[in-house]
């Protein structure tokens, strides 16, 4: 390999870092404009960026406390407070995007000697008054650890910087992304897509996943680290599975299938829908806000499927991998974030590339991007 060419990347990296420094002058920056459409996303070392989707340019950047990671975000329904799970999965912060002030902070660990992580698992109630987190505590005893049962902790979002749960309930283990329905129901992705009554802690199955009973189907594999708050109010979870030809369950002749489970957060309606054969992996996917028959997926390509026909209708080659997908409310543009420090913009119909939005700072890694209207 040509060493010189590789090391010639270094000045470019320095340039990007230089931009980061001048970018931080924007910290606290202007308030958001009422009715405008924005996107929020976080990156290393401690940034939360607001992108103006009218101009597809960086609007402002806020500095975050403590360590970065994973940078999972959730927007409050008022379009003003962005919540972020950070500090190595151990703390959730609320940031007022108008003035960059941290207005909410909850440590997931609730007692001394307890180390607790939330694995992408938090959500905000539809009225913005409560925050829900599934927490995985471990007791760090003197000469041994003890993993504790997972719990659902409910916080009052007005509790300030030392927020403690107002209610806690036992939770299934292995819960990742979560969203809330208009009626207050909490939906959580785990072994099943659960629905939880946040008043009583009662857990029910909204969509069977590990236990699904679909004749000739293998149980699905579900990876989900991006709780995307979609403009269409869909909670969409991609799955991969195998469909066998017959009862011999021969994997060699099985069809390998991509699909999604979906909860309509306005109506509570659920579906489990195959949308195409597996030809490549997508880390995240989103239903088109303007055409419910279209689903997009992204990792190494941006792909667009016709759900009814179960067909790939378009795919765009990318400059590099992107993890997290978002759409504007109109459904005309697709935004790709995660990895590196640029957001790529694509035409939602043609998948033609419209541009890149460079961000100050480093890698977005697995941060969630969220599109919202202030």
């Amino acid at each position: 390999m040509d060493k010189k060419r590789l090391s010639s990347l270094m000045p470019a990296a320095a340039l990007v870092l230089g931009t980061a420094l001048s970018g931080s002058v924007l910290a606290k920056g202007p308030a958001l404009e009422e009715g405008h459409e924005y996107m929020v996303v976080a990156n290393y070392p401690n940034n939360m960026h607001v992108i103006d989707l009218q101009s597809d340019s960086l609007y402002k950047s806020c500095e975050l406390p403590d360590a970065f990671g994973p940078g999972v975000t959730q927007m409050a329904p008022d379009g003003k407070t962005a919540y972020i799970l950070n500090n190595h999965y151990e703390d959730i912060y609320g940031v007022n995007l108008d003035n960059c002030e941290v207005t909410f902070h909850a440590a997931m660990s609730l007692q001394q000697n307890e180390r607790t992580k939330a694995i992408f698992s938090f959500a905000i109630s539809a009225d913005g008054k409560e925050l829900y987190a599934v927490q995985n505590p471990t007791m760090l005893n003197r000469d041994h650890y003890r993993v504790q049962p997972s719990r659902l902790a409910v916080y009052d979002t007005s509790a300030g910087l030392n927020a403690k749960p107002v209610r806690t309930f036992p939770s299934p283990r292995q819960v990742t992304v979560m969203q809330t329905g208009e009626d207050g129901t909490l939906y959580m992705a785990g072994a099943e897509i659960y629905k939880v009554d946040v008043k009583t802690g009662d857990v029910d199955v909204a969509i069977p996943s590990r236990s699904w009973q679909r004749p000739l189907y293998a149980p699905p594999d579900v990876l989900n680290a991006w709780p995307i708050q979609s403009p269409s109010k869909d909670f969409t979870i991609l799955y991969t599975t195998a469909k066998f030809q017959d009862e011999t369950y021969n994997l060699d002749t099985a069809d390998w299938i991509y699909g999604f489970m979906n909860v309509n957060l306005e109506t509570g309606e659920t579906q489990t829908t195959d949308f195409g054969p597996i030809t490549e992996i997508y880390f995240s996917g989103i239903l088109s806000p303007k055409d419910p028959n279209i689903v997009y997926g992204v990792l190494n390509r941006l792909a667009k499927y016709d759900i009814e026909k179960k067909e790939l209708v378009a795919a765009a080659e990318l400059d590099h991998s992107y993890y997290c997908i978002a759409s504007n409310h109109e459904g005309s543009k697709i935004y790709l974030a995660g990895t590196f420090n640029d957001v790529a913009v694509y035409d939602a119909d043609t998948l033609e590339k419209l541009g890149n939005i460079p961000l100050p700072g480093g890698d977005m890694a697995i941060s969630t991007s969220q599109v919202f209207i202030r």
């Binding site: 390999m1 590789l6 090391s7 990347l9 000469d143 650890y145 292995q174 072994a191 990876l223």
Partner: protein, 530 residues
């Protein structure tokens, strides 16, 4: 450990034996003081020389080293390197593994990182060997309570363990606690007859003169004499190494060795300005294992060694270990205590003894035109070694069949990891048909090497161009530099998926063979046991 058991020494040596035993008791009390002074902030005393957690596990020296290093990295232990060495020695001696308990897993200690593991237990494969080598587990012994602690530690320390592929599809914690803990406690128990018996064994002698025979991919066969003398600490030795490679170049070095658990020989030997690590097991007067560059462990050699002892003779190796029927060649017999007439096998005449010592006999041999098969040579009354006579090469294999090279360097913290290949020639056997039961291995033969795209993706991504370079003469593949490469599709790393092709010339016949090599990214986490 058994170092306190007196050996059946004669009168003159008794004083030395007593001195050694005293030294051993001193070392133990020193180690116990280190534990008392450094470990009791977290560990509890449980009677004399017994501590919570510590006293309920058995491991290899590398296993104990990793445990103490983890205490430093994760739990704030401050300890000097010297005290750590004392503790590793004490713990490996007192709570080690019997030789038989390491069988089948020594490749991990020997840093044979191209080993493809396979286990009968699907649970074990998916629950343990999914993230690290299964050998790391196979080289530990614990009671159920300690395996249970290990499960809690794993999930507590790496909380995403239960969310990953092959974990998120099952009730991971329940399976780990209620299936894996009993399975591990049964198959890898704290108490074992093998360990009981091993502790009763008399200590085997180490100091003295040894003969080594080895083979290093990319360099070839070598032999050497190793002189081992007792050094100051318990089971510590100084050593010098003097020998030569088959190509005539010298092999010279000196270093230090420690014997753990009565048989685990670990030495650092400086050879040509580079430190080579010896990971050998001592068994029945012989050492065997692997010697590799400490800081580049893919470069290494298989080694066997025998100690000079009165009335004992071993044939360790023949170099080269094959001859073509109807031809003449110089053959070196490597061993210890060699004396008497060298015989290479049926149809092979020793026409001249070129040189002779108790460790090396060099002969001129002639194989008859109709000679064939695998011979067990002899020197005097000693039989051993393996010598193949073949009329023609019937097939060739690339060894290893599958290997991993890693990009590195380029300003990063992790160096490149090369891959090294050899061509193994096979004869067809009496039936003249290749691929049948009577095929026999001839040995490693010279080849011309190249790489090619493994599949269409590799071809489209130009992996051959980007991933590195194969040395056509040596079979050593040097991977490319680390980091995103703007010239590649999606700025990807110089990773690649390559066919490894060997061409072997045997008279007018040309043989081809193929292996596979993945060139991948750096191994960021590289503990002593992978």
């Amino acid at each position: 450990m058994k170092t306190t058991i007196l050996k059946p020494f004669g009168g003159g040596l008794l004083a030395l034996a007593v001195a050694l035993a005293t030294q051993s008791a001193q070392a133990a009390s020193e180690a116990e003081k280190i534990i008392q002074d450094n470990c009791l902030a977290c560990h509890s005393e449980q009677g004399e020389s017994q501590w919570s957690r510590i006293s309920h596990q058995r491991k290899t020296p590398e296993g104990w080293l990793m445990t103490i290093a983890r205490m430093q990295v994760m739990h704030g232990l401050k300890i000097s390197d010297e005290d750590r060495r004392t503790l590793v020695k004490y713990l490996a001696d007192r709570q080690g593994l019997a030789p038989s308990e390491t069988e089948g897993a020594r490749y991990a200690l020997e840093r044979r990182l191209n080993t493809s593991e396979s286990f009968d237990s699907q649970n074990f494969t998916e629950m343990c060997a999914r993230c690290h080598s299964g050998a790391r587990v196979m080289l530990q012994r614990r009671p159920a309570s300690e395996w249970e602690h290990l499960v809690h530690f794993h999930l507590g320390q790496w909380p995403t363990t239960e969310f990953q592929a092959l974990a998120r599809d099952r009730d991971w914690l329940d399976l780990a606690l209620n299936k894996m803990v009993p399975e591990l406690a049964e198959t890898l128990p704290m108490d074992s007859a093998a360990w009981e018996q091993w502790q009763q064994q008399a200590e085997a002698p180490v100091a003295g003169e040894w003969t080594l025979a080895g083979h290093m991919p990319g360099k070839g066969a070598f032999n050497a004499r190793m002189s081992v003398t007792s050094a100051q600490g318990e089971d510590e030795y100084s050593l010098t190494l003097t020998g030569q490679y088959a190509d005539g170049s010298a092999l010279k070095g000196k270093g230090q060795a420690v014997v753990y658990t009565g048989y685990e020989w670990r030495a650092n030997v400086e050879i040509d300005g580079q430190v080579m690590r010896q990971v050998f097991a001592l068994k029945e007067g012989q050492l065997s294992g692997r010697m590799f560059l400490r800081d580049k462990d893919e470069v290494g050699a298989d080694v066997v060694a025998a100690r000079d002892a009165a009335g004992v003779s071993h044939i360790l190796a023949l170099q080269p270990a094959y001859i073509k029927a109807g031809s003449e060649a110089d053959i070196t017999i490597v061993g210890s205590g060699l004396s008497g007439l060298p015989v290479l096998g049926k149809g092979v005449d020793v026409i001249e003894v070129i040189s002779e010592s108790s460790s090396l006999i060099k002969v001129r041999a002639r194989a008859a035109g109709d000679a064939s098969g695998v011979m067990t040579p002899s020197v005097g009354s000693t039989e051993g070694g393996r010598f193949a006579v073949y009329d023609r090469i019937a097939s060739v294999k690339v060894v290893p069949e599958f290997a991993v090279a890693r990009v590195g360097g380029n300003g990063g913290s992790t160096p490149k990891v090369e891959a090294r290949f050899e061509a193994e020639a096979w004869a067809a056997g009496a039936d003249g048909k290749s691929g049948t039961a009577d095929d026999y291995r001839i040995g490693m033969v010279p080849a011309t090497w190249s790489v090619a795209p493994f599949d269409e993706v590799a071809e489209a991504d130009r992996d051959v161009h980007f991933s590195g370079r194969m040395n056509s003469a040596t079979g050593v593949f040097t991977p490319a530099a680390a980091g995103p490469n703007p010239e590649r599709r999606m700025m990807t790393n110089n990773a690649g998926n390559l066919k490894v092709q060997a061409t072997v010339q045997d008279g007018a016949d040309t043989h081809s063979a193929e292996g596979q090599m993945i060139v991948t990214v750096q191994r960021w986490n590289n503990p002593p046991i992978p």
